[in-house]
């Protein structure tokens, strides 16, 4: 049964108002635009490295298609922000619908018509007209939000750029002229079914119906051509402008699993133990041409949306770093040929050093770019050449000579080990069958405040009757600060020595309270030949509480808020356990504005703890204010470096009376 009770079956009228032969002329006009488009795409792919790209394209397809569906098709990360999410979804779905609509016209007119068939007729055609008008409205609404964000409220993170204004103008012109054309068509050729094109019909009713037909036809024809030319131009411009993100983001998402699964794991460019003594290895990159093809593709996927910048603690603290600008500058440099040295006017060294490697940028990026990755590559290149100022080279020298970043001789820890022994702690040599090796970490070995964490933890372990031992004199730095500063060789040297120690004592299960040790031992040592089962102290305490092995006598009367450490929460997804522990051992847990994977770095990650970068403010102070704003009287941390950073922040901002700092273990130990 037809939805239309008229005499005629409704159908799509194509070119009926245009002079005969328009279709042919249009295709001829389209050719150069299409050629520009194809050439542009080809050139971009040449930049990425065409050969490698094809080799990788069909590998691991199920996972990658899954990623593409989740993050490209369904825009899972794009929608995580409300205003921007609604805007992009509207424009994105509108554009896809309008593209499909145009494609159907092409199939209907240029293919089926020649074969004597048609799809755009009858009920389907009416639904088609209705659907397109509706999606056109969504598209327009999205563009309105875009204009509002960019030109009315002028969101800080949206960079004004002529290129963007031009592409926006072009798209708006296509949308508006499309509706006006539809309106004119219905004015010139009113049909019984015009009502299904509800927007076009409404426009037609505004226009003068049955007026000067000749003028309307002339206007229609002129507008039709300008609509076509602008549309062709926009298509041709795709590979040369930000519009390219239509393709590059999909590709970047698709290939994103070529990166390690967590930003906490850095790539292993070589194996020190497999190198010939005289092999010359280059690590890192200081030119776009030295990045791999996926990393170059990632640069082109950047839409300049600024979400990474808004999430970046180093940016918030007023350091020279903006992760968005790093990617954008490298992208610009790639478009200029990609042969220029990063530190010859592309990036600033301080920019690279300001990064705390917290990966907030990676978490924020809607299209799975890792700005962090480029920063770390650049650091590796700088460090390989030894271009480091005093504090950085001192830290590395300390690692080389004392096996700890503090530069304190091993003898410094003898006293503390003695103290632990007095508490009843054994070393692994004395107790080789211990269930857990408790890895103490440099911070808690050498820093007196952080030693408190160990004392509390030992009391907890003993109260719960957990069998554990320490390495004692045999423990040294995991190598994390070396790796994060870019000294891959030194990292591997230290890691390999530690792995030897682990193997010697047959160690597989390690308890640790430092998230940096946790991350490196868990995620990075596996590349060097050992799989370790790691457990963070918050996990073990949680487990002991659940099993009833650890009895909380009385929750202590504090109102506590938790600072998620980057290397525990964001990098390793340990978010629930610390909260369970705190809820069970205190009277109330309140949350800060930024929690969980969206937590805000204390400013000590990525070895930034060991040197200074020019800044307006400290990340730790910004974060501490957030903690104080919750009304909590205690800020709980799960990382000795966070503890030290906030310790300073409390003093600097004069909050000594307002808020106390405790590690989770200290709180639990008090509640026993």
């Amino acid at each position: 049964m037809s939805a239309c009770s008229g005499l005629e079956t409704p159908f799509r009228e194509t070119y009926t108002i245009m002079p005969t032969g328009t279709d042919l002329v249009m295709y001829i006009v389209l050719l150069p635009f299409a050629a520009l488009f194809i050439y542009g795409i080809y050139r971009r792919m040449r930049y990425y490295g065409l050969r490698d790209f094809w080799g990788e394209l069909f590998m691991d397809m199920p996972t990658r298609l899954g990623l593409a569906v989740r993050y490209a098709l369904l825009q899972r990360k794009v929608v995580s922000e409300r205003r921007a999410g609604i805007m992009h979804t509207a424009i994105y779905s509108g554009a896809i619908a309008l593209f499909i609509g145009t494609a159907l016209v092409f199939i209907d007119y240029d293919i089926l018509r020649l074969l004597g068939g048609s799809i755009l007729r009858g009920d389907f055609y009416l639904v088609y007209e209705f659907g397109l008008d509706l999606m056109g409205l969504a598209f327009t609404a999205g563009l309105c939000i875009l204009l509002y964000r960019r030109f009315v409220v002028r969101e800080e993170r949206l960079r004004p750029k002529l290129e963007y204004s031009l592409t926006i103008a072009g798209i708006i012109f296509i949308a508006v002229s499309g509706y006006v054309l539809e309106g004119l068509r219905h004015s010139i050729q009113p049909r019984d079914w015009s009502g299904w094109s509800f927007v076009g019909n409404a426009l037609a009713s505004i226009m003068y119906r049955g007026g000067d037909l000749e003028t309307m036809v002339a206007v229609y024809r002129g507008l039709w051509w300008s609509h076509a030319i602008v549309a062709f131009t926009m298509v041709a411009l795709i590979p040369y402008t930000n519009l390219l993100h239509i393709f590059t983001t999909v590709a970047n998402v698709y290939f994103s699993n070529m990166r390690p699964t967590t930003p906490g794991k850095m790539s292993t460019p070589f194996r020190l133990d497999q190198l010939e003594p005289t092999d010359e290895i280059k690590v890192g990159a200081r030119r776009v041409s030295e990045l791999n093809w996926r990393q170059r593709l990632g640069l082109d996927a950047c839409t300049d949306c600024g979400r990474c910048e808004a999430a970046c603690p180093a940016y918030a603290a007023g350091t020279p770093l903006s992760p968005r600008m790093v990617v954008q500058k490298l992208k610009g440099e790639m478009w200029n040929g990609g042969g220029k040295d990063f530190f010859d006017g592309v990036l600033d060294e301080e920019e690279v050093w300001a990064c705390t490697t917290c990966a907030a940028c990676v978490e924020a990026c809607p299209v799975l770019i890792s700005p962090l990755e480029y920063i770390l590559e650049a650091r590796r290149a700088l460090t390989l050449e030894g271009r480091l100022e005093k504090k950085k080279s001192t830290m590395l020298m300390n690692l080389a000579r004392f096996q700890n970043p503090y530069g304190l001789p091993q003898s410094e820890k003898a006293g503390f080990i003695e103290e632990l022994r007095a508490m009843g702690v054994s070393t692994i040599s004395e107790k080789p069958d211990a269930e857990y090796l408790y890895w103490i970490g440099c911070a808690s070995t050498y820093d007196s405040r952080s030693r408190e964490i160990v004392r509390s933890m030992v009391r907890i372990l003993m109260a719960a009757g957990v069998s554990f031992a320490i390495l004692g004199e045999e423990e040294s730095c995991t190598g994390d600060p070396a790796r994060r500063i870019g000294e891959e060789g030194r990292f591997q040297e230290m890691a390999l020595a530690n792995i030897e120690t682990f193997k010697r004592h047959n160690i597989r299960r390690i308890l640790v309270h430092c998230p940096h040790c946790y991350n490196t031992l868990k995620n990075e040592y596996s590349d060097l030949g050992i799989e370790l089962t790691m457990i963070h102290h918050s996990q073990l305490i949680g487990q002991l509480m659940r099993e009833g092995r650890l009895k909380i006598r009385k929750p202590i009367g504090i109102k506590v808020t938790l600072h998620d450490s980057c290397y525990l929460g964001r990098m390793n997804n340990i978010l629930e356990e610390p909260r369970l522990v705190l809820s069970g051992s205190t009277q109330g847990l309140v949350e800060m504005r930024r929690v969980g994977r969206r937590s805000f770095c204390c400013g000590a990650g990525g070895s930034t703890y060991w040197y200074e970068v020019p800044r307006r403010e400290r990340e730790s102070v910004i974060r501490l204010r957030e903690a104080v704003d919750t009304g909590a009287d205690t800020l709980a941390v799960e990382c000795p470096y966070c503890l030290q950073m906030f310790n300073d922040a409390v003093r600097i901002s004069g909050y000594e009376e307002r808020i106390k700092l405790r590690d989770i273990a200290e709180i639990v130990a008090e509640a026993l």
Binding site: P277, T383, E385, G386, E488
Partner: protein
């Protein structure tokens, strides 16, 4: 493109030295050895000159009681092209006179050169002797305490920071220049570069190779005793109002002869 010789000394890391609690003598066995800080500045300066002029050789020379090859490797990793070294137990008691003499023999093995760069003093002995003595041996001009250096075709210009101004001097090449910590920040060779440097040549000599005998290593100056200063706090605690405290403090300052009323 000047060729440069850099003299480097391996010393004990004095920052790690702790005095024996009773004898107050430094416990050398507990401290590691390292390249004397100023000498690394000299090497860094040589490398920067080479980078700026796009060429030239940088040769490292070192003499000591037992020159550690690993540390020499670090020097080569920083960018020196080759090293000439000699180890002899008697070098443990060497003074500036002996060191300069031995180094001059090593330098004559190093081939052609236009400039000798040294640290202005060593980290352990701080005698400020070796550089000037080398200049004397080779009959060359010597510029000391240099904090900035410019080098042109056949001459050098050096800046020295004085108490009340800057002293700028120029001399012809070849010459000897001694530098301080302010002149630059030495680069830190990465582990990969240290490994790669194992391909670079280290020439090791015996005394006889240099035309020297053990008699030549007899120092003019002998070290008689080395002891740490014993500093102890008196742990005096003053109490009272700020006014009382101020007057008590003033009394003590006068008593100790630090000021007069």
């Amino acid at each position: 493109m000047p060729d440069i010789v850099v003299c480097l000394k391996q010393t004990v890391d004095i920052y790690q030295l702790k005095p024996h609690p009773e004898t107050l003598e430094p416990q050398f066995s507990q401290a590691q050895s390292k390249i004397s800080d100023f000498d690394l500045n000299a090497l860094e300066e040589a490398l920067r000159i080479r980078e700026k002029h796009g060429g030239g050789r940088v040769v490292a020379v070192s003499a000591g009681p037992s020159v550690n090859q690993l540390l020499i490797r670090e020097i080569l990793a920083m960018g020196a092209d080759e090293a000439h070294i000699i180890s002899h137990p008697l070098m443990a008691s060497a003074d500036g006179y002996v060191t300069a003499k031995v180094l001059s023999k090593l330098i004559s093995k190093a081939g052609r050169w236009d400039l000798i760069l040294c640290g202005e003093a060593s980290l352990d002995n701080s005698d400020y002797q070796t550089g000037p003595r080398l200049a004397e041996i080779f009959h060359l001009p010597h510029l000391a305490y240099v904090s900035r250096l410019e080098i042109s075709e056949r001459s050098i210009r050096a800046w020295k920071v004085m108490e009340d101004g800057v002293h700028v001097a120029e001399c012809s090449l070849p010459a000897v220049v001694t530098v301080g910590l302010e002149i630059n920040t030495p680069r830190l060779p990465s582990l990969l570069m240290i490994r790669a440097a194992s391909k670079k040549p280290i020439h090791e000599y015996k005394l006889a190779d240099l035309g020297l005998g053990e008699d030549d290593l007899k120092p003019y100056v002998q070290l008689l005793e080395l002891k740490a200063l014993k500093v102890e706090r008196r742990r005096q605690k003053l109490e009272g109002t700020p006014e009382e405290l101020a007057s008590k403090l003033a009394d003590i300052i006068v008593e100790e002869g630090l000021a007069r009323r």
